[in-house]
C-alpha cells in the first residue's frame, strides 16, 4: 500500500508529559457571537513542523494563571506549521482565552487521543455529519481528506446549525459546495435572515438528499451536541452502515490527557487514551455515553 501524503507518526513522548510548550496566537477572529477561531504556532518556530498529529486528536491548552482544558484540533495535519481551533466561550477558561490578543501566548501539550483511523478509511466512502460546534474536530478530517483526495472514495459532508448566523465556517463550506469531488449539504434549523438558500430543518433532513449509499463500503463520522446523536445514529444505522464503521468523537472533562487523572472515564474506557474517537459498536450500550438515557432509546 502506498503511504499517505502526510506521514502520521506518533510524536515522541516528552520527559514530562504534563509540560506545556508555549505557542503564540497568530490569528483570532469571531466565527459567531460566542465562537472564536484561533490560529497558533510554537513560540520556538523550529518546533512548528515537528508537531505532527492525526485528525480527531486533541491538545491540552493552558492559559497562564487560569488553568488547562482539552480542545479538539480543527486544522489538518496536511497543512502543517499552524494549529487551528474553533472554541466556544462557555466557561472561565474560555472567557480568559477570548481576551487574549494576537501575539499573546498560551501553553499547549499533546496531541492526545487516538484520532480517526485514517489508514482504515482509505479507499472507502466517507460520510461526515456535523452539528453545531461538532464541526471543530470534523473540519480536521474533512480538510485532511480533501488534501489527500485520491485516497478516499466518495466524500459527503452534512452540516447542521441553528441559524445561518450560527453556522461555523459558513463561507468556507459555501465555497466547498463548488467542488465537484465533494458532496456538501448544509442546513439550518430556522432561517432568521430570509437569505438562506440551502436546506431548512434539522441535520437528519439532509439524509433524504444523500442519493445512493454503498453502506458496507462507507464510514460515517459523527460529532455534535448530545441531543443530535440519537437521531443521527438512527438514520445512519438505517442506511445499513456497519456499526463498527460508524465513528463518533466524544467530549469529557479532562485534567491530564494521558490516562492518569480519571475524570474522562466512561465505564472501562478513558476518553483521553481509548478515545475520543469511538465506534458506535464500542459504546452503544453505554448509559453514560451522551447524558443519561440518551442512548437507551437508540437502536440496539
Amino acid at each position: 500500500m502506498k503511504k499517505l501524503c502526510v506521514v502520521l507518526e506518533d510524536r515522541e513522548v516528552q520527559e514530562n508529559p504534563f509540560q506545556p510548550d508555549m505557542w503564540r496566537i497568530v490569528r483570532k477572529y469571531p466565527l459567531t457571537s460566542d465562537v472564536n477561531f484561533f490560529q497558533a504556532r510554537p513560540v520556538d518556530v523550529d518546533e512548528a513542523l515537528k508537531f505532527s498529529y492525526r485528525p480527531g486528536q486533541f491538545v491540552m491548552l493552558s492559559i497562564v494563571g487560569e488553568g488547562e482544558a482539552p480542545f479538539s484540533i480543527s486544522s489538518s495535519p496536511s497543512r502543517p506549521g499552524l494549529l487551528e481551533f474553533c472554541i466556544r466561550r462557555v466557561g472561565t477558561l474560555t472567557e480568559t482565552l477570548f481576551t487574549l490578543k494576537e501575539n499573546e501566548t498560551l501553553g499547549i501539550r499533546g496531541p492526545y487521543g487516538n484520532g480517526f483511523p485514517m489508514e482504515k478509511m482509505e479507499e472507502k466512502d466517507v460520510m461526515i455529519v456535523a452539528g453545531g460546534l461538532g464541526v471543530a474536530p470534523l473540519r480536521s478530517i474533512l480538510l485532511y481528506m480533501l488534501d489527500n483526495r485520491d485516497k478516499f472514495g466518495n466524500v459527503t459532508y452534512l452540516h447542521g446549525a441553528r441559524t445561518p448566523g450560527e453556522m461555523l465556517f459558513r463561507e468556507e463550506f459555501m465555497q466547498l459546495k463548488e467542488r465537484e469531488d465533494l458532496k456538501c449539504l448544509l442546513t439550518v434549523d430556522k432561517d432568521d435572515t430570509g437569505k438562506w438558500k440551502e436546506k431548512i430543518g434539522v441535520v437528519t433532513t439532509l439524509f433524504k438528499d444523500l442519493g445512493p449509499v454503498d453502506a458496507k463500503n462507507t464510514y460515517a463520522v459523527v460529532c455534535g451536541p448530545p441531543v443530535m446523536y440519537k437521531f443521527v445514529m438512527e438514520h445512519v444505522v438505517k442506511l445499513g452502515i456497519p456499526k463498527h464503521q460508524i465513528l463518533m468523537t466524544l467530549e469529557r472533562r479532562m485534567k491530564c490527557g494521558v490516562g492518569k487523572c480519571g475524570h474522562c472515564a466512561i465505564e472501562y474506557l478513558y476518553t483521553c487514551i481509548d478515545g475520543p474517537v469511538f465506534s458506535w459498536w464500542d459504546v452503544l450500550h453505554m448509559k453514560e455515553l451522551i447524558g443519561r438515557g440518551a442512548s437507551d432509546k437508540a437502536i440496539a
Binding site: 488553568g67 488547562e68 494521558v258 487523572c261
Partner: protein
C-alpha cells in the same frame, strides 16, 4: 529472590543503621488511630497496628503538590524537592496497592512526579495479622512477592528477610553481620505453618470471584439507587483507598501578579462536579451513577484491563465509610439484589 534470616532482637540495630540512607517512617498509634510517622527508632513504632488511616500512597503521590511554577514566560517543572525516605512496616495489601499505582503512573506516559518519589522511597514490608476488616484473602493480596525493597516475615524467634531490590540489598550490606543465609528444612516448615495460620485468622466473609460478569448483569439494577440513597458523596472512600489515583489540577495565582503554581490534588469520582464539562453538562449527575463508576472500576473494569481487581482487601473502606458502603456490602448487595441494613 534472595532470602536471609535475621534474629528479631537485631531489628532495632538494623533500622538505626540504615537511617543514614534517609528518613525513617513507620506505623505509630496516635489517639487510637494508626498513622505513618517519622521516627528515630523501632521503639516508637507500633508493629501490631493493622491498617493506617491513609495508605502509603500519600508518600508517592501526596494529597497536594506543585507540578509547575509559572509566569508569563511559561511553565517550569518543580522537581527535586523530595526527601529520601524509608517506610518500614508496610503490609502486603499496601504493597499490592503500590504495584497497581506503578502500573497507572509508570507505564505509558510515565509520570515524573510519581517516578521521582518512588525512586526516593524505600519500602520495607512487614508481615501482619488480619483483623476483623481484612479481606486480602479474597483479592489474592495476602502475600506479596514483588514491589518491596525488603520484606520482613515475622516467624516468632526470627525474621525471614526477602530482598526485593538492589537498593534493599544495599541496606543489608550496611550491616551484613546481622543476616545469614542458613535456611533449612525447619524454616520452610515454619513459614508454611505461618501461612496456614494466617489463613485461619480472617473474620470477614466475602467472595469477589465473578464480579465482572455479575456487575455487568447488574448494571441497571435498582440496588445502585438504593445504595445511593445512603451515600453521602463525601469521597472519603477515595482518600483512603490504596488504588484510587484520580486527581484534579488547579492553577493557583499570586495575588496581583501572573505568577503562580500548578498544583495536583487528590480528587474523587464520588464528587458531583467530577464529570462536569464546560457549559454545565454532567455525565454523572446522579449519585447512583458515580457510586457505580467507583465500584465497577475497581471490581470490573480493572480486571478487564489488568487481570486483577483494583481492590487489595485492606479494609479501609469498611473502616471509613460512615454509611457502610464498601467492597463487602456493595458486592453482596449486587449478588443478592438487596441492600443490607
Amino acid at each position: 529472590m534472595m532470602i536471609l534470616k535475621m534474629k528479631k532482637e537485631d531489628l532495632p540495630v538494623f533500622l538505626d543503621s540504615i537511617r543514614e540512607w534517609g528518613e525513617l517512617w513507620g506505623p505509630t498509634k496516635r489517639e487510637g488511630k494508626c498513622t505513618y510517622t517519622k521516627v528515630d527508632s523501632l521503639s516508637q513504632m507500633d508493629l501490631k497496628a493493622t491498617r493506617t488511616i491513609i495508605p502509603p500512597k500519600k508518600f508517592l503521590y501526596p494529597p497536594r503538590f506543585t507540578m509547575f511554577d509559572y509566569d508569563e514566560e511559561g511553565y517550569v517543572e518543580r522537581v527535586g524537592d523530595v526527601p529520601k525516605r524509608i517506610l518500614f512496616g508496610i503490609h502486603p495489601c499496601d504493597i499490592h496497592g503500590i504495584l497497581i499505582m506503578d502500573k497507572l503512573f509508570l507505564e505509558s506516559y510515565k509520570d515524573p512526579y510519581y517516578a521521582e518519589r518512588r525512586e526516593k522511597t524505600l519500602l520495607l514490608g512487614h508481615s501482619c495479622v488480619p483483623d476483623d476488616k481484612c479481606m486480602c484473602f479474597a483479592t489474592n493480596t495476602d502475600f506479596v512477592a514483588e514491589g518491596f525493597d525488603l520484606f520482613f516475615s515475622d516467624l516468632k524467634m526470627f525474621y525471614l528477610v526477602w530482598v526485593g531490590s538492589t537498593k534493599g540489598h544495599d541496606l543489608i550490606r550496611m550491616r551484613p553481620e546481622l543476616f545469614n543465609r542458613d535456611l533449612g528444612r525447619n524454616d520452610i516448615i515454619n513459614y508454611t505453618e505461618y501461612r496456614k495460620w494466617k489463613n485461619t485468622q480472617y473474620k470477614v466473609s466475602v467472595d469477589l470471584t465473578g464480579m465482572p460478569d455479575i456487575f455487568e448483569l447488574g448494571y441497571s439494577s435498582p440496588v445502585w439507587d438504593q445504595l445511593a440513597e445512603k451515600c453521602l458523596s463525601c469521597g472519603q472512600c477515595s482518600m483512603v483507598c490504596p488504588t484510587c489515583n484520580c486527581y484534579n489540577v488547579v492553577d493557583e495565582v499570586e495575588l496581583g501578579s501572573v505568577e503562580g503554581t500548578r498544583d495536583r490534588c487528590w480528587d474523587s469520582c464520588m464528587f458531583r462536579e467530577y464529570s462536569v464539562v464546560a457549559g454545565g453538562q454532567n455525565f454523572r449527575d446522579k449519585r447512583a451513577d458515580r457510586l457505580r463508576l467507583w465500584y465497577t472500576h475497581k471490581l470490573q473494569a480493572f480486571i478487564g484491563e489488568f487481570g486483577k481487581p483494583a481492590c487489595v482487601g485492606c479494609g479501609r473502606c469498611v473502616e471509613t465509610c460512615p454509611v457502610e458502603i464498601n467492597v463487602v456490602t456493595v458486592s453482596t448487595a449486587i449478588k443478592e439484589q438487596e441492600v443490607g441494613k
